[in-house]
Structures are given as structure tokens and as C-alpha cells.
Amino acid sequence: MIAYRPSRAPGYAALALLALALAAGFLPVLRMGLEQGIAGLDPYVFRVLRFTLLQAGLSTFLSLLLGLPLARALARQSAFPGRALLLRLLNLPLALPAIVVIIGIIEVYGARGWFGGIFDIYGLQGILLAHVFFNVPLAARLILADLERIPAESWKLAAQLGLRPLAIWRLVEWPAVKSGVAGAALLIFLLCASSFAVVLTLGGGPRATTLEVAIYQSLRSDFDPQRASMLALVQLALCATLALVAQAWGGLAAGWPALRLQPKRYDGRSTTARLLDGGIVLVALLLLVPPLVALIGAGLFHINPSPLLLRALLTSLGLGAASAVLAFVVVWPLAAFAVRSGGWRKVTSIAVLASWIVPPAALATGWFISLIAHAGMTGLAAFLVIAMNALMSLPFVARVLMPALAQSAEAHDRLCLSLGLAGWSRFRLVELPVMKRAIGLSLVMALILSLGDLTAISLFGTQDFVTLPALIYRQMGSYRFDEAIGTALVLSALVLAFSTLAERWSDQR
């Protein structure tokens, strides 16, 4: 059978662009790293690596320690008042930019905060607190999705056989969640091992720094590209290993729980069970709510509509829009091929995976070394930030566009072939109207990601090239914490407005 073939040129161009970006990041790092050889792996590198693994391991452990019981409590108590609200609350930390949440945490647990003195938030404790704040909801939602996939008959059977909570856990729940728990653990470990904003703001000293932040410091403070590339190589190896393990496991693709009819459960009705589940939910609320309330409460009084804030806002929106469009333009032609040909599907998934596992700071080191030899930073800063953010959002854009595009190919290819409809006119007349929600969703997701970015802007930003997250960080650093809270509230409002839009589009697909 003759199949529809999208035009080749854009596909090859997109692939070439991606290859160029990755090669420009990877090759200089590799060359500079190999030149140093084993000698480059000095005690400092090992110390940073050890702390990276330590904090990621502890963060993962603590997140699952609360996330797993929370998921079980939410699954078991399927009809208490406020459950739907709580599920939405669990989405919030994932939607908000890291820097914003950090501001909230400092406001609550910092030396002069509401609960000041409980934790020493500058150092390991603070890093763990922030990571747990982000990842308990992530773990809970991933595991809850697995629990809700257990068929209704299993619950009836468990009730009829009179299984006790422990037996239900052993026979019904644990078998359903165990691969999901492993997947969630890997994902959380990977996220924490390459977390930038949290470690930059709450750690950062020589004792509490991770590879990602140490790379940034070597590049921007110490101007030591040699050390940066050694650290980048170690970070690359670490992330690649984790991502490959995760890929082999296949547990990362787990979806979100849909808002569908939940199977009725017959367990968890006893007073003990209710108290236990209620207690766990309460602990989660105590963890999640105060920083958010503090952010809103304190932020409202400190919004300072200075020209600087306005400029940062516009810069953020401009950069975000540009990187969203860039990500779309790269993913679209690749996806158009990938949904129609097995070979392209492989190439595309490798390219997307590569852009996901390559840690931004490691990539930035390469770009830095490549470009610094030829030109100054200033003129290129905006382009580098846009490119970096586009690259980071590729997996998300692909995840949204691919299924929609596959559906459209299935429905329209033969008709388009018979009418001779191809290229731009096909995009304008068929895909654009049919897929407008998916296209909009992919653009907004990329925009949200880049609005919250602190990594790229820290690595490439300059004194007068400032986005909202960079402004918050600067205000924090110059003892104007109140202003930082105001700016953080503006940024969160912006991000939440866009994610509400995205949520609406994704629901109606």
C-alpha cells in the first residue's frame, strides 16, 4: 500500500538542529574531560558526587515514606469531603516553579519564619524539605493511579474472603503498585539528582552542593571550564545510567489518575483505618499547605510594580513564547515522521530521550566552551536560554503531540493522499483545525516550563538580562526577601493562569 509521506526537508532539518545542539554540548565536555583523564577526578568531584547521591537518595526515601501511605489513604478513603480538592492540591507543587515554592518554604521554616528553628533550612535539611515538598505529591499521584487501576472485582473478592488490611496490602495493593513504586523512586531520584534551584538557594556552600550547582559555580563564579567539564561528565554518566535503568524498567510512563468512576472499596471502614488514613492526610496537609499560604499571604502585601519587575515579566513571557515555538517547530516534523515510520520512531524517541537525560548544566558547559572561544556571551545569552528551554521541554511537547498526530494520520492520511493534500496546505486545512487543542496544550506546557526556569537563565543570564525567577533569586540574595515574595506571587499567578488553561484543553481532548 502507498502510504502518506510528509515532506522530508523539515524532518532532517529538525534532526540536524537537535544533533548540533547535543554535539555542541557534549563533544567539548568529552574532549576537555578526556584531556584531564583520571587526574581530573579529584576529591572535590567525589565529594560533590557523594553529596548529590546522598541527598537524592534521602529525598527519594522520605518522599516515598510519606507518598506511599498517602496514596493508600486516598485510595482507601474514596469518598471523604474535600478529597477532590486535596487531589488538586497535590498537583500544585508540580505546577509551580521551584523558586516560588522555595520562597514559601523559607517564609515558613526560615530563621524568622512561622515555624522557624525546627529545621536548619540552609543545608541538607532544607534541601530535603524542599524535595519532599515537591515529590510527596508526585509519588502519591503516581501510586494512586496504580491503585485505582485495580479491578472492582478484586475488591469484591477481598471483601468476600474477609481479607484483613495486611492481607489486602500483601495480596491486592502491593502487587498492583510495586513496579509503579520502583518507577516513581527512579524518577524522583533522577529529579533530585539534577535539581538546580533548590540546591542553589538552600545549599550551595561547599559542603552542600550537587553536581548541577557545582557546574554552575565552576562556570560562572570560578571560571574553571576544566573542572566544570569534569563535573559535567560525571553528571552525564549518572543521569544516563539512571534514565537507562528507568527505560528498561518501563515504569516511568505511568499516567495520571483519570477523573473516572472509582471502583467501590469495602475495606478501610473501621475506626482505626479511618483515623490512620486521616492522620496521614493531615501530615501531608501540614507539609503542603503552610508554604503555599505563606506565599500568598505575605506576597500580596509586597508586590512592587517596579519597572524592573515589569521588564522581567516581559522578558520571561518573550523567552517562554520563543522557546515554546522553537520546541514545537523541532518536534512537529519529527513527530509527523515518527507516527508513520518505525525507523523514524526510533530516531525520534532516542532524540527526545537524549534531550531529557542530558542535564542542562552539563550541556551548558559544552555550549559555554564552544562559544566562549568564538564570541562573547552578551549577544548570545537570549538565544542560548531559548535553546536550552526548548530542549528541556521537547519530551513534554512530544508526549502531547505524538498521540494526537497519530490519531490524525490514521483518520486523514488516505483522504489527503487521494486529494493530493500535503505540506503546508495539509497542516493549515487539516491538522491545525483538528489538533488545535493539542497544539495549544503543547505550546502552553513548554511556555510554563520555561517561565519557571532558573537553570538556563542562571547559566547564561547577565546583569541586565533578567527573567522573573532570576529576579526572585537576585532579590533573595540582596536581602530584599519581601520583594522576592511579591515577585514570586506574580510568577505563580502567571504560571497558574497558564496551567489552568492547559488543564482545560487537556480535559476536553
Binding site: 478484586s154 469484591k156 473478592l157 468476600q160 492481607a167 469495602y266
Partner: protein, 238 residues
Amino acid sequence: MIRLEDVRFRYEEMAMRFDAEFPTGSFTAVIGPSGGGKSTLLNLIAGFEAPEQGCVLIDGVDVTALPPDRRPVSMIFQDNNVFAHLDLWQNVALGISPSLRLDAERKARVDAALAEVGLGALMHRKPGEVSGGERQRVAVARALVRDRPVLLLDEPFAALGPALRRDMLDLVKAMQQARGLTVVMVTHQPEDAQAAASHTAYLENGHIVALRPTAELFAAQDLPGLRDYLGDWSRPEL
């Protein structure tokens, strides 16, 4: 004997009311349009749903307030009757002990039940490694070891081919007669009812419209809803 006394239940827009009796040792088929409340009737007897009003009596005991595991009832579903990560033997043994700790005498009972349903050779396979019909046999074997006087079947063999379905029905029928079980079986296949059931209930819009000896019910001319439900099937000459 199963007795439903003025049992009221509301599901979304539909108000259901059941007032019926299933004598001890009887085999009753329940037929009727989808969404009419057939599964709800079984769920009320098994204790998976609680009536808003009225009571359910089994052998003279009011079980309305009892949880499913305290009722003298076993139930077999259309699907998902087994835990995929346990082998067939363990799935049956769960019917005796949720902790799977069995003494020699109980182990022998599990072995015997598996042999009775023809799964003796497959007992250490996982459910994923056997056919759909064999998975349903596991559920029958579990009901055997549980040894409860009431057996409820919710379209248990709907996913099986005609020959297999007939085999399974014979198996359940033999089990019912050997042990004097009271069986209530929801089905969409009139021939299942005719092959196995002494009585058949026709259920529509949340009410048992008629409960009669099977042959009598299928011959009835006074039930217009039943004629529409059965369609051409009741008039083979067409």
C-alpha cells in the same frame, strides 16, 4: 433459602425494589435487559451494596448488616476472579485462609477441589498461563473449598465459547446438586437458563417482574417486556 423483604435501593435515577424468595437447593437464572438491576440484586445478597430499606435473610438469619465475608455466600464474577500474581493453587487456597497458611488436611481439600474442576495438572501455573475458561474454573474451585450454602454467579461464562460455557454450566450444576447449594445466576443466554435453572426470574427497571419455573417463564405470553427482550429467539420458526 434467600429472602429479600421489601429491599429498596437507588442507583442514580433508578429506584429498585426487590421482594423475592429463592428456596434452598434451587437454581435460579436471572434474565432481563442491561441496566435493569440484575447485578445489583446479586450485590445486595452478597453484601456489596447496602439496601436503603428492607432486609436480606439467608436461611432465616437477617444478614442485612453483615459485611460480605460474614455472609454464607460465594460469588463468581465475569472477569478478574483471580489474582494474577498468585498461582492457581494459591488462588483457590485463599478461599480457606487469607494468610495462605494451611494444615495438611486443608491442603488436601484445595488439591481435591482443583482436581474436581479438572485443574489438577495446572495447579502451579499462573493465571496468565492458562485459558479464560480455566481461570473461571479456579473461581468455581474456590467456591468449592469455601463451602458456603449460597452461590451467586454474575454472567460467569459470558466470555467463553458455546462448548466451554456448556461444560462450565454442567460443572456448576453438578456441584449445586451434590451439595444442595442455592444458586442465583445472572445471564444473557436463554439457553443457559434452560439448561441449568429450575427457576428463572425476569427483571426489568429494578423490579422482579416474574419468577417462575424456567419452562413456564419462557412460554409466558403475559409478559410483553420479556417478549421484546428475547426477540427472535423465542420464535425459532421465524
